[in-house]
């Protein structure tokens, strides 16, 4: 009987060689891509946290205009990373060989990103800028040692969006009526909220994106805390979150949740945009979500406290990746995307930090869904009175550790002062 002949040794050796060669080629190809000079169209990846197709199209139009002005071809790739995961995923990508060439940066992450060296110096690319047109305050957060590392494209205040139908149904004065009476305060905000819930059975207020108890806790509490004269911490390292002003402000919000039961509570998924809450907090970029709303809606600035009105300004900047293969081109594109004409085109979605655009009539009429009066009162004026959230190079640690203590607030019998003392201890540990 003839034995079945196993695969020949030569053939096996050839297979091994082919496998090894294929593996080697795969790795060497990867290495070649990272070092070779690009020919033909330049590929640029831009990381953002928006996935809105209209907004992406607008950003892409800037890229194509820039390419035309340079006489080159740019193949843009917009990478949308969800807001809640943005810093995590972005930081991972930036350490790899294939990180984005340009990326948006959140204001709370600004010091850490600048300190990390991942942002390219933009001084050279910004030479054509008129420095007087950009408020120095707006650039302060994004600068270090006199150099700029990212340019804010959005200086967008948070304001109140409300459902007119629900206020009418409840027989309660809506925010605009209270503004007309000069009575748009946090105390009255609380009173009308209770009226709305008691009379309609529907939640009066949903926190910003429904994340006011966790990912957006600072956005949620800052307007109340600051209008009461308090704050979280200051740039010079003072911790203020457990001072009496902040405690009174947080207590007001806590009572709305657990005494009045007028706020969508933690874990409940009722949503303003679906008509299941009478008010929420939003920015101008969120207004597009109301395009097909089944109810009449209004827009008002944040209520005032004993120290006036203190809206939070959400600032977002764009920077170039210092390790990008096309770092100079990316830096030039950053400058182009934030020049006067680009900023004017974006103003209806992302309010600018440029004075010339902000003061123009074109800005006040830039969003077709928002009246010029609303734009002036809730956006332009709020940019003047508002402030960005506090930031720190240790913000990632502060955010994670303070959440453990903040979580204790969301119980009916929570001792607000004691919990804020704990939060203050976490802040003090990192802010020295």
């Amino acid at each position: 009987m003839k034995n079945v002949r196993p695969m020949g040794a030569k053939r096996a050796l050839i297979m091994l060689l082919v496998f090894g060669l294929a593996l080697g080629m795969a790795f060497s190809q990867g290495a070649k891509e990272t070092t070779s000079t690009p020919s033909g169209p330049v590929s640029l990846t831009i990381a953002t946290w928006t996935s809105n197709p209209d907004q992406i199209a607008l950003l892409d139009s800037f890229v194509q205009d820039f390419a035309k002005s340079k006489g080159i071809e740019i193949k843009s790739n917009f990478e949308s990373i969800p807001f809640g995961e943005y810093n995590t995923k972005l930081s991972l990508e930036l350490q790899s060989q294939n990180g984005p060439d340009l990326f948006w940066v959140l204001e709370t992450a600004a010091p850490a990103f600048i300190e990390s060296g991942l942002l390219a110096n933009l001084d050279q690319a910004m030479k054509a800028y008129d420095p007087a047109d950009i408020s120095s305050d707006a650039l302060e957060l994004w600068s270090k040692g006199g150099s700029v590392y990212a340019i804010p494209f959005s200086t967008s205040p948070f304001f109140i969006l409300y459902n007119q139908n629900l206020f009418a149904k409840a027989g309660a004065k809506n925010p605009d009526q209270l503004i007309a009476e000069g009575a748009w305060t946090w105390e009255n905000f609380r009173k009308v909220s209770k009226q709305v819930t008691d009379n309609t059975g529907i939640w009066a207020f949903q926190t910003v994106d429904g994340q006011g108890y966790d990912a957006r806790i600072l956005h949620n509490l800052a307007p109340i805390v600051r209008s009461y004269g308090g704050d979280f911490w200051t740039e010079d390292g003072q911790v203020l979150i457990n001072k009496s002003e902040a405690v009174a402000a947080v207590k007001l919000f806590h009572d709305m949740v657990y005494v009045d039961k007028s706020v969508v509570p933690p874990g409940n998924q009722s949503d303003f945009f679906s008509g299941n809450a009478a008010m929420t907090v939003g920015q101008i970029s969120r207004v597009s979500k109301l395009k097909d709303a089944s109810f009449a809606w209004g827009l008002a600035p944040m209520p005032s406290g004993p120290k006036g009105n203190a809206p939070v300004i959400g600032q977002a900047a764009i920077g170039a990746h210092s390790k990008s293969k096309h770092v100079e081109l990316a830096a030039e594109l950053v400058a182009y995307m934030t020049n006067k004409s680009s900023v004017a085109a974006m103003a209806g979605i992302w309010p600018p930090a440029r004075k010339s655009v902000m003061d123009s009539e074109a800005f006040l009429t830039s969003n077709p869904m928002v009246t010029s009066v609303q734009m002036k009162e809730a956006v332009a004026n709020s940019i003047k009175t508002g402030r960005v959230l506090p930031s720190h190079v240790k913000y990632p640690q502060i955010e994670v550790e303070s959440k453990m203590s903040f979580d204790k607030l969301w119980q009916p019998n929570a001792d607000v002062r004691k919990i804020l003392d704990e939060v203050a201890a976490v802040y003090a540990k990192h802010i020295k």
Binding site: P6, M7, G8, A9, A12, L13, M15, L16, F19, L23, N87, T88, S91, L92, Q95, A112, F113, E115, S116, G117, L118, D214, P265, P266, G267, N268, Q269, S270, P396, Q397, E399, V400, E401, K403, M404, S405, D407, K408, W410, Q411
Partner: protein
């Protein structure tokens, strides 16, 4: 001449053997062994993911673990989670396997229902349960309870309930797989042994504990090891349902590793925690493996 030919055949076979295992070995080395060794090395470095910096610190990261209250909390939470998931999973899956293995009517339908969560995406499962377990009467679970006069808690936002909720949803998600494994063992139990026991008068609990359970013990041991390891590695359920809260009450070790590595960017310290978790799983698995002979009469 004959001897040379034998040597040459051996060599040829060895080369062929290596040719077959090389792709698998390459995959194992690149994707398992190297990362594993790297984790041990990173554990001895102060390594920051955002800043891209690293420096050798020896065993400092391991020393830091004992003074980190969040690590201790995550360790305790992991043990609580496993202590909840493993017995519940084993008891229910064994009970269901014994019932379904009996060949009663409708068992095929019940089998399908129980196995459905296993093929469902873990993400979808967690998101649906987060919706079902909303507080007040907004969540369907609490609405149902309110219909029978019970005021349900805010399941995922109250300390004690949050852990209980993730344990129960996790058990329901993975029950089907263990039921399937146990059913295979139940259907393979030697019928003559059981028949003989029945003739001798064994029934009910006696029949189960003295005859069926010992016959199933090798499978029970294997399922226990797999379930313990799985429960120690829980991530998606926690991430999507509670984010480790409230107050860190569901912060298990794997989620704490994620927090340290990707939210605080301390990759070195996160790797040290990963090494500890690896050690714990290894010890538990070895412990169960060594003790198998005491609780199992034979091996499959």
């Amino acid at each position: 001449m004959k001897k040379l030919s034998l040597q040459s055949t051996h060599r040829r076979e060895a080369i062929i053997g290596w040719a077959f295992v090389t792709p698998q070995m390459a995959g194992f080395i690149i994707f398992v062994l190297l990362p594993l060794v790297s984790v041990f090395m990173y554990g001895m470095q102060e390594k920051n993911l955002l800043f891209g910096t690293s420096s050798f610190v020896g065993l400092d990261n391991f020393g830091r673990l004992f003074s980190d209250p969040l690590f201790v909390k995550s360790l305790v939470n992991t043990l609580i989670f496993s202590a909840g998931v493993v017995p519940l999973n084993l008891i229910f899956s064994l009970m269901l396997a014994l019932y379904l293995g009996g060949g009663k009517t409708g068992t095929r339908f019940v089998r399908g229902i129980i196995f459905l969560p296993v093929v469902t995406s873990g993400v979808a499962w967690a998101i649906v349960w987060r919706y079902l377990l909303q507080g007040g009467t907004a969540g369907p679970v609490n609405w149902f309870l309110s219909q029978v006069g019970i005021e349900g808690p805010n399941w995922l936002f109250e300390k004690g309930w949050a852990m209980a909720s993730v344990i129960v949803t996790r058990v329901m998600k993975n029950l089907g797989m263990n039921v399937l494994i146990f059913m295979g063992a139940v259907l393979n139990m030697p019928g003559d042994v059981i028949e003989a026991a029945r003739i001798d008068g064994a029934k009910g609990w006696n029949l189960f504990s003295k005859i069926k359970l010992p016959l199933l013990m090798p499978t029970v041991m294997m399922v226990t090891i797999v379930t313990v390891i799985g429960s120690m590695r829980v991530f998606d359920t926690i991430k999507l349902m509670t984010d480790g809260g409230p107050e860190g009450s569901t912060m298990v070790m794997v989620y704490y590793i994620y927090h340290q590595a990707f939210r605080m960017f301390e990759t070195g310290y996160a790797s040290a925690i990963a090494v500890v978790l690896f050690g714990i799983v290894l010890v538990l698995t070895l412990g169960q493996w060594v003790s198998r002979k005491r609780v199992s009469y034979y091996e499959v």
